[in-house]
Symmetry: C2
Subunit: 175 residues, 2 copies
């Protein structure tokens, strides 16, 4: 009898001949929802890896550092350490370590929070804002290049479908 | 003059009223490719978080541990530590630590590689295969539930668009 479940198994085991990515976990017989998820994960990982490599090559900067600066850039009034950590949860960087380094380089300023004397409030210095703006401009160009393989109407369609997925997953996760 | 670049900045700064995710980095004026990328990242992170939570709740298991067992399940002949690490790069778990723990629980067997006496070859024990199969069956159900918000034709369309994206990003990254 065929093994009835084992959705993550590629019975043909083509692992040595096809690129290593999460989709190599999937098999044609798997439920299509699982194959869709593994393809979504693969696309995200491919693009994130490319961006990490670009940031390292052009700026010698990690993605968590870029994301931290992006958050501070958005919040010109600064953010408390706890707020920053929460916003950067997904990137998984060591917020304190990155903030220390940025402060040492003069890109981030720290001052006591006016509403909570025990907390530090972080913000970008003018030099920090300038440094981030330079990175962000290139970053946008990389992303445009990475997405160029899809025609504009396909990108619009993908954006709409992911919007629907996002809202239903959010609702589901909150339930 | 309007700041010309700053693609990651939400000038309206609605951060306090909308959920925290990567899309909150994007602004309506940003290039649509950037908004598409941030939405893709958000969807992936939402689904991955839900799966992490499900694995923890039902099996007290981390995602890197699940992924490691999935790889060994696929490769009934076992994998060398180095091969495993390469395959699990994206998940970012500590392969050695997880493998040690699985061996201690009798779910993974380690033996010297016949072709390379200095290397260890890992495989799932029968108990390990059984434990993984149980998790994989539930895992598939979670993913089906998470994707249920899209109708079947929408999932097929999304799968096709992501397939095109994946192949062009791979080609781009390899160039």
């Amino acid at each position: 009898m065929e093994d009835p479940l084992l959705p993550l198994v590629d019975k043909a085991d083509k692992a040595d001949t096809i690129p290593l990515d999460h989709e190599t976990r999937a098999h044609g017989d798997d439920h299509e929802a699982l194959r869709l998820w593994l393809r979504l994960l693969t696309c995200t990982n491919l693009i994130e890896s490319a961006i990490r490599a670009d940031l390292r090559r052009d700026f010698d900067v990690t993605l968590p550092r870029f994301d931290l600066m992006a958050q501070l850039y958005r919040h010109a009034g600064g953010l408390k350490m706890g707020e920053l950590s929460q916003r950067l949860m997904v990137t998984g960087g060591n917020v304190t370590g990155i903030a220390d380094q940025l402060a040492k380089e003069g890109l981030v300023a720290r001052e006591p929070d006016p509403d909570d004397r025990r907390a530090w409030r972080l913000s970008l210095t003018p030099a920090g804002r300038q440094a981030f703006a330079r990175m962000a401009a290139l970053h946008e160009g990389w992303v445009i290049d990475l997405m160029r393989g899809l025609a504009e109407p396909e990108r619009a369609q993908l954006h709409a479908l992911l919007g629907r997925l996002k809202s239903t997953v959010s609702a589901n996760a909150g339930a």
